[in-house]
């Protein structure tokens, strides 16, 4: 097991290197010096901030030197200061991260709770009525522009029906609430964003769950279990589901970048102060330090997610540990 983890870690190193190269390269795509762009597009940047930035990035140095310095700072978890309000980028991200994580984890939990049973039931009778119904739903889910759905829900539930809040994280009189009510209030505000985020992921996952279960239920050991006279329930959940769930682990790791990306859209539409909104605002204001840090961190989170998924898979399925790399 340990060898597998180490081998997998070493394999990640070149990817890590390329990620830093790309994040660094983005800043140099803009015409002229990065500070030129910051100045002309954003008059809020003071001359002092500009000089400090030029010194910080060593813009008079050759690219290689600049890259090496930037890499060194990133390794020490120093992301510089935001152009917009001169606050440390790390601090800005740290205060936004919990919101995005809450939305993503909640919607992930919701997706798993719905997609897995949906996939299993559809797989029990492939081609049956339920299977066809879920197939239709899956197609709709795949093709639905989630930002449009978010807009419709916003208008429908927020503006017309006035059932749910339309934006932000808290009610106006939030300060006067007790602890429990504060929690409920936040949950109330996050309900719609979480539902929308879950909707997008639901289609893909239930589809994979279905095909994975169909595959498993065709195996010999399922026939054996049935022949032994086990109840259908036990065959399905004890022998079938445990094996059918395996590919979902990998899929969860792979879906991380989409979850992070989905946060940009959901948070922008519902005006939620999370990482996605921070990224959007930074991009619009050409706040390079924030953009570069978020691209790097987003990619790092994905890498860690994939790594965890692969390790979990190897833990759950001994065939992977013994054999070569997955895939």
């Amino acid at each position: 097991m340990m060898t597998y983890v180490v081998r997998r870690l070493v394999g990640t190193l070149p990817v890590l290197f390329l990620i830093t190269l790309i994040s660094f390269g983005i800043m140099h795509l803009a015409p002229g010096k990065p500070t030129d762009a910051a100045m002309s597009f954003n008059p809020k940047v003071s001359l002092e901030a500009r000089q400090r930035m030029e010194a910080l990035y060593g813009l008079d140095q050759p690219l290689m030197v600049q890259y090496r310095r930037w890499l060194g700072r990133m390794a020490r978890w120093e992301f510089g200061r935001s152009f917009l309000d001169d606050r440390p980028v790390g601090e800005k991200i740290a205060e936004r991260l919990p919101v995005t994580l809450t939305i993503n984890l909640a919607s992930l939990a919701l997706i798993l709770c719905i997609a897995i049973p949906l996939g299993v039931v559809a797989a029990v009778r492939p081609g049956g009525v339920f299977d066809r119904l879920t197939t239709v739903l899956v197609f709709i889910g795949y093709s639905m522009p989630s930002f449009w759905l978010a807009l419709l829900c916003l208008v429908g539930f927020g503006v017309v029906l006035r059932w749910l809040p339309v934006s932000g994280l808290h009610s106006l009189d939030y300060e006067s609430f007790g602890l429990l009510r504060r929690g409920l209030d936040a949950a109330w505000h996050l309900l719609l964003p979480v539902l929308i985020a879950a909707f997008t992921g639901l289609a893909g996952l239930s589809r994979y769950m279905r095909s994975s279960m169909v595959e498993v239920l065709r195996q010999d050991y399922i026939r054996t279990a049935r022949a032994k006279g086990l109840s259908e329930r036990r065959v399905l959940f004890h022998h079938g589901l445990r094996n059918g769930l395996l590919p979902i682990i990998t899929l969860l790791g792979l879906s991380l970048p989409d979850l992070i990306g989905g946060a940009v859209i959901a948070e922008t539409i519902f005006s939620i102060p999370g990482m996605g909104r921070l990224f959007y605002d930074a991009v619009m204001a050409r706040d390079y330090p924030v953009v570069m840090a978020l691209v790097t961190i987003g990619a790092l989170l994905t890498l860690v997610g994939n790594l965890l998924a692969d390790v979990a898979y190897a833990y759950a399925d001994p065939r992977i540990r013994v054999g070569a790399e997955p895939r």
């Binding site: 983005i26 795509l29 015409p31 197609f139 522009p145 449009w148 807009l151 050409r286 987003g298």
Partner: protein
């Protein structure tokens, strides 16, 4: 059932393509003409789908938007297929360190959240630099000045961010194809690597690529609409389904004709591409 659905998807797409091509004759008004006195009118006989806040006809803008969306989606996927097939074929054929290096590049691009990368690159406004670079190339430079450089950038960035799946597909196909007898026979006959790849390997790997490309056009249209909605895709006054939705945001809950029709257009188009793609997948997997 999937066959019938695929056929339906195909018909919808043909219809859409016809609408897009004939937009200048079908559109009741000039999609760019501003009539401030007619702002935010509900649907009527003169304006079948109402007007936006500048008094432009929404139906005409939707029809012209279909052109933009389809062209961007198809060209972006064209770029993705070209790059993905080349990278996948080279990686699969040569193997060894070439394969390892190219696949690490694929892993890297897959690990950065796509929307982050798209927004960051587009916001850096690389169109000026692109024009500078291409102005020296005689024919291409002239050609690029004819189209909106923002849209060229959008297609290129969308394509260059979505070739990784195709590359993995082609690589896997080539890995298994290159062990087959007919490839060995061609090799023994003295075919060059280029000929082997172009004549014997790539054509046989095109089935799954076709499926992934069809699904990819839907995905690209979806991404383009998100970017345009966020204000970083197709820039007004050029109409696109995404930026009509963006402009409708101001009158959200009041002017439903700015929010419902563009969304339905995106949904139906993407659904049609997905249905067609899945139908093709069924077809190909049944043949094998």
């Amino acid at each position: 059932m999937s066959n019938r659905l695929a056929l339906m998807g195909g018909c919808v797409l043909i219809g859409l393509a016809l609408l897009a091509v004939t937009a200048p004759w079908l559109a009741p008004h000039d999609p760019l003409r501003i009539t401030v006195s007619d702002a935010l009118l509900p649907p009527s006989a003169t304006y079948p789908l109402g007007t936006d806040q500048l008094g432009r006809d929404v139906l005409s803008r939707l029809l012209y938007g279909a052109r933009i969306s389809l062209v961007i989606g198809i060209i972006a996927v064209g770029i993705a297929v070209l790059v993905g097939t080349s990278v996948g074929a080279i990686a699969g054929f040569y193997g060894g360190w070439v394969d390892a290096a190219l696949m690490r590049l694929v892993d890297t691009l897959l690990s950065i959240p796509t929307i982050f990368l798209l927004l960051a690159i587009i916001a850096m406004d690389p169109s000026e630099r692109l024009l500078q670079l291409t102005s020296r190339v005689p024919l291409l430079g002239n050609l690029l000045t004819l189209v909106d450089p923002q849209i060229v950038i959008l297609m290129m960035v969308l394509g260059l961010m979505s070739w990784m799946g195709v590359a993995r597909l082609v690589r896997a196909e080539i890995l298994s194809l290159k062990e087959r007898e007919f490839v060995l026979a061609a090799r023994v006959l003295g075919a060059s690597p280029l000929r082997l790849i172009m004549k014997h390997l790539v054509p046989n790997a095109m089935g799954p690529v076709l499926v992934s490309a069809t699904l990819g056009v839907g995905g690209a249209i979806l991404t383009e609409s998100v970017l345009s909605y966020l204000g970083l895709g197709v820039q007004p006054p050029t109409p696109s389904w995404g930026n009509i939705l963006n402009e409708g945001r101001i009158a959200l809950g009041v002017a439903w004709w700015l929010t419902i029709p563009p969304g339905v257009c995106i949904f139906v188009t993407v659904l049609a591409f997905n249905l067609l793609g899945e139908g093709l997948r069924d077809r190909i997997s049944r043949r094998e």
